[in-house]
Symmetry: D2
Subunit: 344 residues, 4 copies
């Protein structure tokens, strides 16, 4: 089969002919890939940035951590999945037996792995993964349409799902960053709550799209944005601020936009949270961490996708043209859309 | 009546003869003081530190923000309190009509005030307060025994009450700072949860007392304390860390001791929370603010006091000897005990 | 002023000229009525059915328990309301000082009263109520448009608000009874959750309206309805069943339609819940009580109304024509609409 | 090996020599039994009462559904358990892949089975179970001491764990039935909450034991017990009533003892819950179902056992003497103690 393989850091990956993966373990599942999302992490990987953190697999390996397709073959202990089932992959197969797994808190399993980063990924005709990562979805969904929800979408969903109980009528939620995750967050906020959605971004076009998919207000991040958010929220800030940027000042703005007794959700990263303790206690605000999402989160997000409540703009490329997709992503030619690789 | 009045910053307050307060507003309540707790905030007040923040009343005013006693007289609109009722005062009378008050979230009322800081306090024979601040308590409780729970105790209770749902069997809670609030927190943790309690302090004697009142483990803050807490928690830290110090490095240690998916409760202050966003998200940890507590929190804490589950060590002084109490507090002659002023 | 007064049971009330109410208590509020909803309870009142339960005021008294209008005059202790404010009345002024009131749980206050049932109501030019019952609303809202949300709407909102955390993507909610409360419940479900909404009613026209305002499926209560609900829910029933009928078999059907681990919300009444304990435990289902709603519930519902997410069909009558409205209601000439009395 | 086998209904089971179970499936686990609890369900089984419900395995089969011991052998896909590990068995191995399993809600898995009822149980030298049922416990715990917590204890724990958030200081919890489950519930209530515990039973000796292990008040079920519970709860009843009897009138008493806004937990069964809908709504009370407990519930209960906070009175019998144990249980010679069978 063909697979997009990374051989050397700082060089582009290549599409190679390699052997198809085989079921070895009783809980193995082989998935025929219908679409694999390309994301900025893939660029970081070939630039060796994850290698410096000692966080990726030994070279060479197959890229692709946002995968969807159809079950091809299952191990002997897998009885709930069948060849032909339409599926999306949770990005991190987990052990199933630790306290975290037993409570549905998959991402905190100390024994998980990450195909596309720590083992061979899904930019290939076939992917081998573990049964615990495989989410059956509505057969009417096209894998290529939803693949990019597997990681980016799941992360946005998880944060909004945690915030939703605080987003009753009369509240506001700020979404900082109207990119891929932000657009999903807005659609999920709209589906899960009646809150007033305020989107903040530097790019007026991204704000425009955000308003078309459900944001109530758009605020350009031009230096006056904290004041403008406060004007929209009785001068006090929003009950929930979801920061999808996490650097370049957004991580400071987010706190400033958070209302007393409210919560600042950290999702993007790069910067440093820095708050005097007196400021934390005198307003009783919280900083909330968010780590991808659970298996059930992904299953729920797929329900919203099947209902048409969450959609993605995508541009598809044949797997062979993977490097065109990388170039388009790298050169900013995919505003508001996700590149999806499709094996022929 | 006599009252401890602050006349000039950087000078000791004096016990003066002033007029008794009178009911003026229909919701006013006059309380005969049975005991008023002296706390470090009172020292900050006479040193003018709150004045610099523009946060205290115009001089002169009566000190005393931890007050308990008996109802003396009530305004025309007060029907649920009667002269002779034993009562403790929530430190911050609130409006009763805003969204926060209507949801029981008293501390966030934008219209509250703070007797002893922003109006005359309770180091006097009588205190005038609002009906919404008055908590009726078990008549078997002595006001002088519980007065110091009104603010310090309430703050500790509120933080533990919020943390308790995460403290199921098998978890650990770290209490940083085995002083007044820490001792109350340990007793409340013991009453509200089966968690393993680890106390961290620089003072071995304070740790000893902490263990006598319910802590399971004591760790001396000698530089090895983060490692020792991790050893006691499978190498991963505690589900909940309650930081009652908030400065001098404790505010950094607290985060280090917090387990993935756990929460760092900020209660003490002075320092700055400083955490890379990547560290927040990769472990999905939270920073939780805590602002004193609600009226019902104080009512619940008084139930624990009446049941003997929370006790305080106190040293009483006649109101006339207030400056002896201040001197004892200032010179560290009250380890593990609270000074209580009692009008004769 | 004019007021609709009940003088004798089993006789129609009459529009009398009586004196305007006056502020007597410091927390009194006089409201100029903009609209008062007529509901079936008013018919029960004049038929003496509440008198038999010893649950109404001594005759004569003014009817009207769903009231909205504008503040006219306030007592001396009321500082947060001002003449001219547009307001809706929570149906049950509460004491503000008991444990329930302090926790925002107004309906459980043991000291509340009920204008229109236990004191003079709002079918008049002016109503006297307590400050704790008055909810300021968006001045763009017309009192006559929202008055009927004060009791019926609030009851539907409260139940849905409690159920919403269980209504994540992939779940279903059944609404039994597509009348006034049911229609509001559907709109609130749509605003607060992404759940699949199934409406069950005997009347195909009411189902049709329900689908227009947000229901996903309609099921006619023709004997096959339990089976049909199960077909729509994988054979297992819905996570949440909201029974707005509560009699004539609906109270039994509701339980049958409830999925294992789900909850049957009782809102309508008249019948008896009757379930073998083995059936409760072997499926871990719950029966949930619902009692009107809180002050903050009503404030939140008014936000949805101001946002246009919850609307009512109304037919207005001048107060003088109150008995025409009663006749229309009694003879079933108001399908899907609420009668609103407007003082001239 | 030896095993207690049921061959014919209405005849006592016999201790037979049968073959040891073997690992067949990759997730199989063979456990060397250290103790198997005998409970009334075992008597119901040999009397054929479960057969009438079509709910047990074909004859002959091995009894024993409360099992603890040490891991003996594991299947090829089991990496987290090792021979020699001290373990207790969750009573119902679940699939691990359905929505319920993925959310930690094991008992609602539609694919589970029940060793000792639907497959061979643990009254034998060895038991074959699935990896998902095996809970590793503190090696200092003796399997024979905790085996009876596997089902009865788990059921009591699960109900109390759900109720605990409502049991803050000042509340009361009623435990109806001071038998095996009731005694565990009292110990768990004491460990998890500061609530006032009121135990109701017909047997004064059982009440006496209950008070020794943590109940604050005992009430004899002599006809005056509802009134006495109300006297102990300000005339209003308890916030939480846990009914471990569920028949003979207890299921009606439980509701009568439940405070407005409180919850009646159904755990015992046999009777019928029967409540007018008006009574449910006018007081906003709930009826809560409870079905055994989750894997993590059992793990948490084992922490309490290891900490000495939950203990059981047991009487041990060699497996060969199983019928003596059955006779003792049947003839009421085990008051307050559980019979445990130990293979020699």
């Amino acid at each position: 089969m063909q697979a997009l393989r990374l051989h050397r850091y700082n060089e582009r990956p290549t599409v190679d002919e390699i052997e198809e993966p085989k079921v070895e373990d009783p809980l193995d599942v082989i998935v025929k890939i219908g679409g694999a999302g390309l994301c900025r992490t893939d660029i970081h990987l070939y630039l060796g940035q994850w290698h410096e953190l000692d966080a990726d697999a030994p070279l060479p390996y197959t890229l692709g951590h946002e995968n969807a397709g159809w079950v091809h073959e299952v191990g002997s202990a897998v009885t709930h999945l069948h060849p032909g089932d339409t599926v999306i992959m949770h990005p991190r197969p987990s052990c199933g037996f630790c306290f975290y797994c037993r409570g549905g808190n998959d991402m905190h399993c100390p024994h998980g792995f990450f195909p596309g980063l720590t083992t061979d990924g899904g930019m290939a005709h076939f992917l081998k993964t573990g049964a615990r990562a495989v989410v059956p979805i509505d057969p009417n969904l096209q894998p290529a349409d939803v693949a990019a929800l597997a990681d980016a979408g799941l992360t946005a969903y998880h944060a909004v799902r945690k915030a939703a109980p605080d987003l009753y009528p009369g509240t506001s939620a700020v979404v900082i960053g109207a990119g891929g995750l932000g657009h999903i967050a807005i659609q999920v906020l709209r589906a899960l709550s009646p809150t007033t959605i305020i989107v903040v971004d530097r790019n007026p076009k991204a704000i425009e799209v955000a308003k078309q998919i459900g944001a109530d207000h758009g605020v350009e991040a031009d230096g006056s944005h904290i004041d403008k958010v406060k004007e929209l929220t009785d001068g006090n800030g929003a009950e929930v601020v979801l920061d999808f940027v996490g650097e370049l000042g957004a991580e400071k703005d987010a706190w400033q936009m958070t209302r007393p007794n409210g919560s600042h959700y950290v999702i993007g990263y790069g910067g440093t949270i820095e708050i005097p303790a007196i400021d934390v206690i005198s307003t009783e605000r919280n900083v909330v961490g968010n780590l991808v999402g659970t298996y059930n989160d992904l299953a729920e997000l797929m329900v919203l996708a099947a209902q048409g409540k969450v959609t993605l703009h995508t541009k598809t490329y044949p797997l062979e043209a993977a490097n065109d997709a990388i170039t388009d992503l790298d050169e900013g030619r995919l505003p508001g859309a996700r590149a999806i690789l499709i094996p022929s």
